[in-house]
């Protein structure tokens, strides 16, 4: 695992990364307008309210789009080659890897249900997603 793949938390994103280390997916929700948003900020990106809080979300998502990378850069060969956009049940979209499935388009049907899982990157833990039907999801532990 190459060092450059290890994310570094900022004061604003630290609760997200602390959650991932505990095996929970935590994002922010605005108390003024009710919307969830991602990535972390000190304020709501929709209404600019600072009345926002961290919340553990369901970990359920759907597959929005993806590529299967056939030319991984040096140091990234151990990652899943499936680089995907997923939309969380709560609304926000994230970029992630799809794991727990052979990287074949036949196994990666757009809109398929996914569930969060976690993988190490150096001394950090990052959320990834796997097909909901494959079981062994760790996201709700």
């Amino acid at each position: 695992m190459s060092d450059f793949l290890t994310p570094k938390a900022t004061p604003e994103t630290a609760p997200f990364w602390a959650g991932a280390a505990e095996g929970v997916l935590r994002i922010q929700q605005c108390d003024a307008c009710g919307r969830h948003y991602f990535y972390p900020r000190r304020f709501c990106r929709y209404c600019h309210s600072t009345d926002v809080r961290w919340t553990t979300v369901s970990g359920r998502a759907r597959l929005d789009s993806y590529t299967i990378n056939h030319r991984p850069l040096r140091g990234t060969e151990s990652l899943s080659p499936v680089i995907a956009l997923v939309q969380l049940e709560e609304g926000p979209r994230m970029l992630t890897n799809i794991v727990g499935v052979e990287p074949d388009p036949a196994n990666l049907v757009l809109d398929m249900p996914l569930t969060v899982d976690f993988e190490p990157r150096g001394d950090m833990t990052v959320p990834v997603f796997r097909p909901a039907s494959t079981g062994s999801a760790e996201g709700t532990r």
């Binding site: 590529t67 299967i68 680089i83």
Partner: protein, 385 residues
């Protein structure tokens, strides 16, 4: 009263580096300089006449000092490959406001050879470093391409539609001696090329090259003071917009609203409609981008982009010639292609292109930068309205 639009500002010099392609023996900064010298010669402008400079990559002051210039106006707007379209727009505003009289815009990048290139590092605490890099989303071919499957899926399109973009543009590059990829191809051949990042095969991804280009702009009523004024190309309208620096944070995966906003402003400021446009230069780092642009800029309706390309409307002899140098997919792509899209529009409007389309009067240049982060649009013409 000079306006930034409506033809009051002219491009009086335009040139690329002597060569494009694999150029390990020339540094990035010298690619800027060679393009600048060529464009100033094309314009008939002396160094002392230049009082404005814009560039992206190195700082504007680095390029200015390297060229021995002391401009009173510098713009270093840096939004990836669309930067140079924004520089044209910003230079036009500056000239109209009297902040500069003669602006030089330069691009040079050793994107293939890395000679004298700047390190491109993204820290692990940057947004990209936290939310994209840990997933291997590093190279443009595995990041910029991620939304494409959804775009195709929602329109009942597939990878063949990406291949058809390549097929059409090779018809142009086959007539363009300076293009890197000049072989005619079929859709089946494009689909059978080595897979880079599914669904993108090698031919659906841009070439990677070294090279540069430069432009010289001034007020149209001053153009006649310079030799390049005889072949002046006029800026009728322009627009710019932006969205997310993270691909995952596009407002919608299947359309890029920044294309819609910047192109709408370019049309509104030019006073032209889609029917007035003779020629398109649509920035194509990857084959999905011209499809997004055809729809988002409004030349075709939702879901019609694939058929429009497949039916030949963008090819030689078609009613809307697009990417007539072969585009980033075939002509050249140093890493910031926007300069070359503008150069080809100007060659076509001057009647000097390798694959010249007869009878053009207008061209629409659409740029994209930093993946789906930035958009810029220009409406250019070879006569003042």
């Amino acid at each position: 009263m000079t306006s930034m639009h409506g033809g009051d500002i002219a491009v009086i010099g335009a040139a690329e580096t002597d060569e494009l392609g694999v150029l390990p023996d020339i540094s990035m900064i010298e690619l800027h300089a060679q393009a600048a010298l060529n464009a100033l010669r094309d314009a008939g402008v002396a160094p002392a006449d230049v009082d404005g400079l814009a560039t992206a990559g190195p700082l504007g002051i680095e390029v200015a000092h390297h060229l021995g210039l002391t401009p009173r106006w510098v713009d270093g707007t840096s939004v990836g490959g669309s930067s140079f379209l924004l520089h044209v727009r910003h230079a036009a505003a500056a000239i109209a406001a009297g902040a500069a009289d003669v602006v030089l815009i330069t691009h040079g990048e050793s994107g293939r050879s890395g000679t004298g290139a700047r390190a491109y590092a993204r820290g692990p605490a940057s947004l990209t470093g936290q939310f994209e890099v840990p997933y291997g989303a590093l190279a443009p071919y595995s990041t910029f391409t991620v939304p494409a499957l959804r775009f195709l899926h929602d329109r009942g399109m597939d990878a063949t539609d990406l291949a058809e973009v390549v097929v059409a543009q090779r018809e142009w590059s086959s007539r363009t001696p300076r293009a890197m990829r000049r072989e005619l191809v079929t859709a089946d051949q494009v689909l059978a090329a080595p897979m880079v990042a599914y669904p993108f095969t090698k031919d659906m991804c841009c070439v990677v090259t070294d090279g540069g280009g430069a432009l010289v702009l001034t007020r149209s009523d001053r153009a006649a003071d310079f030799a390049g004024g005889e072949r002046a190309i006029y800026l009728l309208g322009s627009g710019e917009s932006n969205e997310a620096t993270l691909v995952s944070q596009m407002e919608e995966t299947t359309r890029f609203r920044a294309f819609q906003r910047s192109s709408a402003e370019a049309f509104a400021t030019s006073g032209l409609t889609h029917a007035d446009i003779d020629h398109l230069m649509f920035y194509d780092a990857f084959a999905h981008l011209p499809l997004y642009m055809l729809e988002d800029v409004g030349f075709v309706g939702h879901g019609e982009s694939g058929a429009f390309v497949r039916e030949g409307h963008t090819r030689p002899g078609g009613r809307l010639p697009m990417n007539t140098n072969g585009g980033g997919l075939a002509y050249t792509h140093t890493g910031m292609y926007g300069m070359f899209a503008i150069q080809e529009a100007i060659r076509q409007l001057r009647g000097e292109a390798a694959a010249q389309v007869p009878g053009l009067t207008t061209s629409f240049v659409q740029g994209v930068g930093m993946f789906f982060a930035a958009s810029a649009s220009l409406v250019l013409a070879n006569r003042r309205p």
